[in-house]
Amino acid sequence: MWDGVLQGIFNGLASGWIYVLVALGLALVFSILGILQFAHGEIYMLGAYVVYYACVVGHIPFLLALLISALVMGVGGIILERVMFRRIRGEMEPAILAAIGLTLLFQTVAVIAFGGYTKFIPSVFPGVVKLGGVRLSKDRLFAVIMGLVLTSALFLVIKKTKVGKAMLAVSHDPEAAALQGINVNRISSLSMGIGSALAAIAGGLMGSILQLAPHMGTFAITKGIAVIILGGIGSISGAVLGGLILGLVDGLIPLYSSGTMAAIVGFCVIILVLLVRPKGLLGHD
């Protein structure tokens, strides 16, 4: 009954932080551009492959590779925002067109370009950490730490810096922000860039823990959306809370049932939360 629970909790929290990393970018893009960026999962996937080619093929140290991938995808995100998302800011239907179009495009390209067996990044920190009965691979621990660091960094940026304040202003009311002399376009490019960079890092970390497949983005985007909807779109603390909750569900439910049931329970939790709090746990109107 109780054996595995502690391990389960740790696994849950570990994977929860990865979900958070994916969700953060998604939440950022949503709150600034007002669109749900379904192609975020593909950016995550591409980011992972960039890390792979930099790290495994190019023999660049993993951390540097992560940075490179973050930069590349960040720039990519900015370009996307410029040519595609800026013109449809705040519109739901065109956003769906764009995002699904990109998803299909990137997946197809990835299948053709990175075909064959799934790629993987050999573990950067081999071995496991044992605390009592609980075992956790060092890679995962590293991912958790990265998650913590990046989340708090983003939090600080938004709370403390001028840019962050501008972002908040835009997320609340673009017109008003524009009237205050904030360059809305620049902010939205920036947020898209940061969001994509975060996705890329998350992808790279996942690549080192699990594996790289052209369709790995689907898993990520599903989790990411679930997290931000559960936590309340546009709230960082909400994303963290949501991520950890879903992580725990995935970590613990399989102990008493199947992996499928874990997914069902996860979604049901979200549905119920939405029915009680239509804007998510920490979301506000």
Binding site: I96, L97, I100, G101, L104, V111, T222
Partner: protein, 326 residues
């Protein structure tokens, strides 16, 4: 050469009547037609929901419910298709009715996500509920539609041609019903809800009730579509009702253009045909689909159904320009 509304509908009806006859010797094309029909039903119902400002991203969940209902009824309970088919719609609608009132209170992107997750839950339940749905193995050997003899006329719908006509018949009924709702004064009321819920409430429109109503109507037709799908495929599993299916239906609607009633029809037909037309491109085929989506996104924000007007507009614009050059 502006195509009047009535002319357009006549043309559409003509295609619907002639196409199956023309392709009667090629089962593949008949199946493509059937797919088009089913997708038109689903997409138009989705638009009906959208007219009250609800983006449903779980449509496949309900067609899944419909499909499994009629499949199980005919397979295990020995119902005739004729009983199972309407029941499929009704069961889907019943499920919708149960969840409608809490659901429609959620608005905007949250509603979309709510339905998206619902879709996943339904799919996973289908997977998990082995004893009833055959789990991942799914159901095989679903009986075909079967024969019917009315006033001496005996038609066997097992073969594809009559089945295709049946699908088109259902499609036409769906379209007429939705068209009536859309064009009637009731439709105006519904449109008002999407435009401004406060004003609607202030003139006494029961927003929640109408949203729930439209949700149920849409799901009824989703259910029927699912049943049609089940009895032509004759083999079912959860994969056919994944969230991508729902998203595709949504894409059909958006790409077709939601403003016009004809939008979803055009969208569904065109975007169903494109992957079939470009089969020869194998794994590159999605790129064509993507190209179409981006084309719509950049040049046809009002949707594919708006293309004729657009072209006419362009011609109008270019001609004086030529005159100036001359």
């Amino acid at each position: 050469m502006k195509l009047g509304r009535t002319k357009g509908w006549l043309l559409f009806a003509l295609c619907v009547i002639l196409a199956p006859i023309v392709f009667r010797n090629n089962s593949y094309l008949l199946i493509v037609l059937i797919l088009c029909g089913i997708n038109v039903i689903m997409t138009s119902s989705l638009r009906a929901m959208a007219t009250v400002g609800q983006m449903c991203m779980g449509s496949m969940a309900f067609s899944g419910i419909g499909a499994y209902t009629s499949a199980l009824l005919t397979l295990k309970a020995g119902f005739p298709f004729w009983a199972a088919f309407p029941l499929a719609g009704l069961v889907a609608m019943a499920v919708a009715a149960i969840i409608a009132f809490p659901f429609v209170r959620v608005t905007g992107v949250y509603f979309a996500m709510l339905t998206l997750f619902l879709g996943e839950v339904v799919r996973l339940i289908i997977v998990e509920w082995n004893s009833l749905t055959g789990g991942v193995t799914g159901l095989t050997g679903i009986p075909p539609m079967g024969a019917i003899s009315l006033l001496g006329v005996h038609v066997d719908f097992t073969s594809l041609l009559p089945y295709c006509y049946f699908v088109f018949f259902v499609m036409m009924v769906t379209l007429i019903v939705l068209y009536r709702i859309d064009r009637s004064f009731l439709g105006t009321t519904l449109a008002a809800i999407e435009k401004d819920e406060d004003v609607s409430a202030s003139v006494g429109i029961n927003v929640i009730k109408y949203k729930a109503l439209l949700f149920c109507i849409g799901c009824f037709f989703f259910g029927l579509a699912g049943s049609l799908l089940a009895h032509y495929m004759r083999i079912l599993n959860a994969d056919s009702f994944s969230l991508f299916g729902s998203i595709y239906i949504l894409i059909y609607m958006v790409a077709g253009g939601r403003k016009k009633f004809s939008g979803p029809i055009v969208g569904a037909v065109v975007l169903t045909l494109i992957p079939e037309m470009f089969r020869v491109m194998k794994q590159y085929q999605p790129l064509v689909f993507v190209a179409v989506l981006f084309f719509v996104l950049y040049f046809l924000r009002a949707g594919l159904a708006d293309l004729p007007d657009k072209i006419r507009h362009l011609i109008k614009k270019t001609h004086p320009g030529k005159a100036a050059n001359a």
